[in-house]
């Protein structure tokens, strides 16, 4: 995307977010204890400020019609991923899967698995190294938190063996 397209997308998204926000603020019921400004007064004002800023950005992008602007979509840094956004979304999905797995398999197993899978996803190869990373990280974090910091991590299905 060039600067002009980025401005337009930012303005449009900003307008959408502010509209939804002002609508949601309007649904909040005022309290009997509320003052002159009310529970929703400031949030609605900020919603309008964001809407005005977004519209200004949109207008500015249309007024400054730079036909010479080039897109940089095709530029890939040497050694980098060809699809960095998909890579980022993939990493996010793995992390979400980790959060979902914790109550079932416990923090120790989930974090060990996450480290190995994320490292592999990032380009690390070598089954043995990945396996050692998984086997060492989980217990290392568990020991540091449960014993050194006395913060108990969820143990999931293993609770009957290593406590809650």
């Amino acid at each position: 995307m060039n600067a002009q397209q980025t401005d337009r997308l930012t303005g449009a998204l900003g307008l959408l977010v502010s509209s939804v926000y002002v609508y949601q603020a309007g649904l909040i019921e005022d309290s009997l204890l509320a003052d002159a400004v009310g529970v929703t007064g400031v949030p609605i004002a900020i919603g309008y400020l964001m809407a005005v800023s977004s519209v200004s950005l949109l207008v500015k992008s249309f007024l400054k019609n730079d036909v010479t602007a080039k897109t940089d979509e095709e530029e890939v840094e040497p050694g980098g991923s060809e699809h960095p956004h998909w890579k980022a979304l993939g990493l996010l999905a793995l992390l979400a899967l980790f959060v979902a797995l914790v109550p079932v398999v416990g923090f120790i197993v989930a974090i060990g698995l996450a480290v190995a899978v994320i490292a592999h996803f990032g380009g690390a190869r070598g089954f043995k190294t990945l396996m050692w990373c998984a086997l060492l990280t989980g217990p290392a974090i568990w020991l540091s938190f449960d014993y050194a910091l006395e913060i108990h991590l969820p143990t999931g299905m293993w609770s009957q063996w290593i406590g809650k």
Binding site: I28, S31, M50, S53, L91, V115, T137, P154
Partner: protein, 494 residues
């Protein structure tokens, strides 16, 4: 005198010393890793400070900042890759020195200049902060509202050249700050029925998400970091003759770093480049700059280390974070139930003076650790990036879970990380958002309190002397930044 004794007592406290050394060590490692800025290194540690005593926690976080500024210069000098943004100016002459076989000398100059800069900045911090906070003690709710507006007016300076983008980002931060209980009536706002959102979104989660998770999402698609030779370099401290030659550029760096540090939004990177330019202008050997001049290493290193202390002046005295790292430190205050600003000196003086003492120890620790850290640092820089990303994320997830033992927080941090990624794609600056989030409560609650006092009369913000001065300052600051933005644009267009 009492304050001095309080600071002094911390110099002998085992936990403070341990926190300072641990923070500096972590900071040097973090700073040495390209892509891990001081604020990210601090954000990664933030969740682990929850169970700590407040002074130790804040000393730990501030020491990370001190260590990271030195750590950033290690890859800048050795592999021409600045570990932190503010080490970019060090690359110019530091790497040229390394190419000539003087890497050890360059690292020694960087370390000593950082030490002098850090100690000079500490003196400025101690001298300025309390007097500024004393003025702020006379504040009424109207003045606090205007202080919040003054804080928000620096957004223009933090917006990276686009005021509109800064405003949009600040509004997003303010919107997040309104989630949870209303400060006056207690009515729930924007919680969508979720019990986990009743207390609002904690700043610590936003900071960890925006700084650490977003950076990892970006790094996963980027090329591997450059690799160094392995750690055969030995650090060499400057001798007396060299120290005399470096005095002037270090002093230039210290003065520029002090001014830039207390100015919200300026930060270490601007200070380092300005110090480099001025050191060249005042040097007897300007022709050596760019070809491996020791003065070209000393000036920026002194400047960016002064900023580690002076950036805390607006935070501690007024509660306004002027940089990413100061914002993370603010998060450290908030999770210990402390609100930086004028009342901090009344409510928790031991924490403030403890922080001063801790910063002094951190600078000494930087010297001691800096002498021995080079080889393990280079080992770490040479680890494959996918493993580092995986371990950092494991640390983030474990740390975030530890704050409230809540998996909801882990999910929320991922959502905020995604938001930060989208913001980066859209060139939306992060710091105005953080500023909006941390100042949102102050602005709204004091605005409404003032109107309750005045019976709904808005003139209270003008009739209150301190409030009117602060509002006037906010107007002047906004107008100046706007004028500067327009004139910069005209210059670049012509």
């Amino acid at each position: 005198m009492d304050s001095f004794l309080l600071a002094l007592s911390n110099l002998t406290s085992g936990w403070v010393i341990l926190s300072a050394f641990a923070g500096v060590l972590w900071g040097i490692f973090g700073g040495a890793l390209p892509g891990i800025s001081p604020s990210i290194a601090m954000a990664l540690l933030l969740p682990f400070t929850v169970g700590m005593e407040a002074t130790n926690a804040l000393v730990l976080l501030a020491s990370v900042y001190v260590g990271a500024e030195y750590g950033g210069s290690i890859p800048a000098i050795l592999i021409r890759t600045p570990g932190t943004n503010s080490a970019s100016a060090t690359v110019i002459d530091g790497n040229e020195m390394a190419k000539r076989g003087q890497a050890g000398e360059a690292l020694g100059i960087s370390l000593m200049s950082g030490l002098y800069g850090g100690l000079f900045g500490l003196v400025i911090l101690v001298l300025c902060t309390e007097s500024l906070a004393k003025v702020a003690l006379a504040f009424t709710p109207a003045a606090y509202f205007s202080l919040g507006i003054l804080g928000l007016s620096v957004i223009a300076g933090l917006s990276g050249g686009s005021l509109l983008r800064g405003l949009i980002a600040a509004c997003m931060g303010l919107m997040i700050s309104f989630i949870g209980s209303d400060p006056v009536s207690g009515v729930q706002r924007f919680t969508f029925g979720s019990e986990d959102l009743l207390d609002g979104v904690k700043p610590i989660l936003v900071m960890v998400g925006l700084f650490a998770v977003t950076e990892m999402l970006v790094q996963i698609g980027e090329p591997p970091w450059a690799r160094g030779s392995g750690g055969s370099t030995r650090l060499k401290l400057p001798d007396w003759a060299m120290s005399k030659r470096l005095f002037k550029p270090q002093a230039i760096g210290a003065v520029i770093g002090s001014i830039e540090g207390v100015t919200p939004g300026a930060g270490g990177t601007v200070a380092a480049f300005m110090a480099y330019t001025e050191a060249k202008r005042w040097s007897k050997h300007p022709e050596e700059f760019g070809k491996g001049s020791p003065e070209g290493v000393a000036a920026p290193e002194s400047a960016n280390n002064v900023v580690t202390a002076t950036a805390l002046v607006p935070l501690l005295s007024l509660g306004i974070p002027g940089s990413n790292s100061a914002a993370i430190l603010l998060g450290g205050f908030l999770i210990h139930g402390l609100q930086p600003g004028p009342m901090l000196f009344q409510k928790a003086p031991e924490v403030v003076y403890g922080l001063y003492g801790g910063l002094f120890i951190a600078n000494i620790a930087m010297l001691l650790i800096g002498l021995v850290i080079l080889t393990p640092c280079m080992w770490l820089v040479n680890r494959p990036k996918p493993y580092l990303i995986a371990f950092i994320l494991a640390l983030v997830m474990a740390g975030v879970f530890a704050i409230h033992q809540s998996l909801f927080d882990c999910g929320l941090v991922l959502v905020i990380g995604l938001l930060g990624y989208v913001m980066r794609l859209l060139n939306l600056p992060v710091l105005p958002m953080v500023l909006g989030m941390v100042l949102g409560y102050m602005v709204e609650s004091n605005y409404r309190r003032s109107l309750l006092i005045s019976g709904g009369d808005h003139s209270i913000f003008v009739t209150d002397t301190v409030s009117s001065i602060l509002l006037g300052l906010a107007v002047v600051l906004s107008a100046y930044t706007l004028w500067k933005e327009i004139s910069d644009r005209r210059k670049s267009a012509s």
